[in-house]
Amino acid sequence: MNKNFIQEEILRSSGVNPKKCMKCGKCSATCPAYDEMEYHPHQFVSMVENGDIEPLMNSKSLYRCLSCFACIDRCPRSVQPAKLVEAVRLAVVRQQGKNHLTANDIPELIDDETPQQLLVSAFRKYTK
C-alpha cells in the first residue's frame, strides 16, 4: 500500500493531529505497557507524523497497548496517542489473514474463572 495513503488513512480514522505534540514524553511516562513495547507511545506520534508507519505495523507493540487511555488523559497537548495505536492496529488486522488471534488459540489461554469480558475484549482488539 502507498505510504502516504496509509498515513492519511490513519490520521483520518484516528482523528489525531500529531503536529500538536510538543515532545514532552508524558504519554510514554504514563504508559503501563511501556516495557513490553518496542515502539512507545511518543514514538507512535512522531513516526506517524513522519509517515514512518511500516515498522509500527510490523511491531508487536500494537497488541500491547492496554487501551487504558492514560496517555490520552494526561497528554498536556490533547494529542491522544492511544487513538493512533488503535488506528495503526486496525490498519493491520483489517487486512486479509492478519487477525492476531483465532478461535483455535482460545482453549489454551483461558481458565475456569476467565470472564466473558476478557474474551470479548481480546477479540475486539486483535481481530477485524
Binding site: 484516528s14 505497557a33 492496554l66 487511555f69 488523559d73 474463572e113 469480558q117 476478557l118 475486539r124
Partner: protein, 263 residues
C-alpha cells in the same frame, strides 16, 4: 423510579453476583432496573477509530431503546459503561458517524445521543444521593478499610466519561463512606490492571495487578472493591492478598440484602 438497565455478557455468566447484588440493592433504594430487551454484548472495548461502525451498533440499539422509554440507561460493568458512554458521545458530537449509524437502524426516528448514560455508581450519587443511601444502610460496615479500585474504564477518557476528577476521584470513596466503612486512598487506584492483555501476556498483567494491590495494602486497606469483572479477575488471579469484591456486594451487605441474594 424506573431506569433502563444494560447488564452485559459477563454479568449473565461469570459475574452473576455483580448483577444480582445490583438489582437487589436498587430495589431497596426505590429504583427499578428494567432490563433492555434483547440487548447484545457491547464488545468489551470501545474502538476509537471513527470509521468503525458495526462494532458500535449494539450500544446504539440499547441507547435507542432507553430513549424510546425516556429513561436513563444504567450499567454496572465498567467496560459496558465505558463503551456505551463513548458511543453515545460519538453519536452526539460526530454527525458523520451518527448518520452512518442511523442508516443501519430499522426505525425511522434518528438517534443522536439523547439518552442519559449512568454508571450504577453515578446513579447512586446523582439519582439516589449518597445521603439517602446512608439512611437506608442497616448494616454499616464500620471499621472496614476499603480501597476503591477504579481502574481505567470508569474515568477515562475524562473528556467523555465526565464521572469524576480522573486523577483524584471521590465517587467510590464517598460511596464507601455512605455504607459506613472507611475509604483508603492510594495512588494506583486509577492505574490499569493489565486488562485483556492477561490473555496474551499474563506476566505484564501480573505485574500491573500486583502493583495495584501492593499499593493498596501499603496504604492499609483490608479489602478492594471494583466495578469491573476483568479487574477483579486480574487482581485475584495474580494473588491479591486481600479480598477483591464487587462494590455491589458490599452495598448489598450494608443494605442487609446480601443473604437474600445468596439463597
Amino acid at each position: 423510579m424506573k431506569v433502563s438497565y444494560f447488564p452485559g455478557c459477563t454479568l449473565k455468566n461469570k459475574a452473576k453476583d455483580l448483577d444480582e447484588y445490583a438489582r437487589k440493592s436498587a430495589e431497596v433504594l426505590g429504583i427499578t432496573l428494567e432490563e433492555i430487551q434483547d440487548w447484545q454484548c457491547c464488545g468489551g472495548v470501545f474502538t476509537t477509530a471513527k470509521n468503525e461502525i458495526a462494532t458500535k451498533l449494539s450500544s446504539v440499539r440499547a441507547l435507542k431503546d432507553a430513549a424510546a422509554k425516556e429513561q436513563p440507561l444504567v450499567s454496572v460493568c465498567s467496560a459496558c459503561h465505558n463503551v456505551i458512554k463513548q458511543t453515545n458521545h460519538a453519536m452526539q458530537t460526530d454527525s458523520d458517524f451518527a448518520t452512518k449509524v442511523n442508516n443501519y437502524m430499522a426505525e425511522e426516528s434518528l438517534y443522536t445521543g439523547e439518552t442519559q448514560v449512568y454508571h450504577y455508581l453515578e446513579m447512586l450519587r446523582d439519582l439516589v444521593g449518597f445521603d439517602a443511601l446512608k439512611e437506608k444502610v442497616v448494616n454499616a460496615l464500620s471499621g472496614k478499610k476499603i480501597a476503591a479500585y477504579y481502574g481505567c474504564l470508569l474515568l477515562r477518557p475524562n473528556g467523555v466519561m465526565q464521572m469524576d476528577d480522573p486523577e483524584n476521584p471521590q465517587i467510590m470513596e464517598n460511596f464507601i463512606r455512605a455504607i459506613g466503612a472507611t475509604p483508603v486512598l492510594y495512588a494506583m487506584r486509577n492505574e490499569c490492571c493489565g486488562g485483556y492483555i492477561s490473555m496474551e501476556s499474563p506476566d505484564l498483567a501480573a505485574n500491573k495487578s500486583n502493583a495495584v494491590v501492593k499499593n493498596a495494602v501499603a496504604a492499609g486497606a483490608d479489602m478492594i472493591i471494583t466495578a469491573c469483572p476483568l479487574c477483579k479477575y486480574n487482581l485475584i488471579k495474580n494473588g491479591a492478598e486481600i479480598p477483591v469484591v464487587y462494590f455491589t456486594e458490599v452495598l448489598a451487605e450494608a443494605l442487609g440484602v446480601k443473604e437474600d441474594t445468596n439463597e
